[in-house]
Amino acid sequence: MSSDLRAVTDVDRLIHEPSRLLIVTILYAASQVDFLFLLRETGLTKGNLSAHLSRLEQAGYVQIEKTFRGKVPQTLISLTPTGREAFENYRKQLKQIIKRISDE
């Protein structure tokens, strides 16, 4: 496999999935968001969003906290330091790949 192709396959596939990339990007820009905000911003269904968040939580990229705002249930999500670092590495890798392609 050429080094260029290897670079593409080496990106973090957990983050690279389009819906999860959107979720992680949103979380990167904030310190904490709630489930409703993510639902609205991603346009995903509740089930879909929950599934993606579970995968990210299992990988240690996000922290999920179930709480209440008054009497209303609220799920708060934030990126862990591991998740933040993974996203930054992903962006660096992408930049390098794009730079390599544009140099050719």
Binding site: L22, L38, R40, P73, L94
Partner: protein, 209 residues
């Protein structure tokens, strides 16, 4: 893909301004400052007036912005978060925080010195124009940072206010009073229009158990 990532980050950061509440809060404090200067214009010049300005101005600015911040947060809890969700933003810490404070202090001191210089050189008529230009620049930078058109519009309005005040040739503190009052009203109007549009476009959602 990189552009999409940056656009998403910007959109998330821009969410703070989605409801217009921060403009209403800031505009209210600026309007209050304008009213303070109006009250001052009615007072007799003297030691007591100088004392009131010296104490009252920082109290209104610092206290006003603190109160406005609390009010905006409270209103967002009641209006915005139930409709489109909750977001909190990372607080600047350490060097970045001190850097921003230092930059703000330098700008404030530079502005004060510049205005004082203009006043001393007899070019008082230029003071509202220069002040308006600096505020318009700050608003334009905000508009560019968060890709919000209404801040560009506010910047243009502020410039027009500055030119109007200069053209009217009012004495101090009436000139400052009118400038801040009109500027505050413009911000409140912009925030209110944004809030009305936001309320029409959204409904409160409830997370199910």
């Amino acid at each position: 893909m990189k552009d999409d990532i940056q656009a998403t980050i910007q959109r998330t950061q821009r969410y703070w301004y989605v409801d217009g509440l921060s403009e209403i809060g800031t505009g209210s404090v600026i309007l209050l400052m304008g009213l303070f200067y109006f009250a001052l214009s009615l007072a007799q010049p003297g030691t007591v007036t100088a004392l009131v300005v010296g104490v009252g101005q920082p109290v209104i600015i610092l206290g006003g912005f603190w109160l406005a911040s609390k009010a905006v947060t409270n209103l967002k809890e009641r209006i915005t978060y139930p409709r489109t969700g909750y977001v909190s933003y990372p607080r600047r810490s350490g060097k970045r925080r001190w850097g921003v404070m230092a930059t703000s202090a330098v700008i404030a001191i530079g502005l004060t010195l510049g205005v004082t210089q203009l006043a001393a050189s007899g070019n008082r008529a230029l003071i509202p124009v220069v002040t308006a230009a600096l505020i318009a620049l700050a608003l334009a930078l905000l508009g560019y940072r968060f890709s919000l058109q209404r801040f560009y519009v506010l910047g243009i309005l502020v410039m027009l206010i500055g030119l109007l005040i200069a053209w009217l040739g009012l004495t101090e503190p009436l000139s400052t009073a009118l400038f801040f009052s009109l500027f505050g009203l413009c911000m409140i109007a912009a925030g209110t229009i944004t809030l009305i549009r936001y309320l029409h476009a959204t409904q409160p959602l409830v997370e199910e158990l």
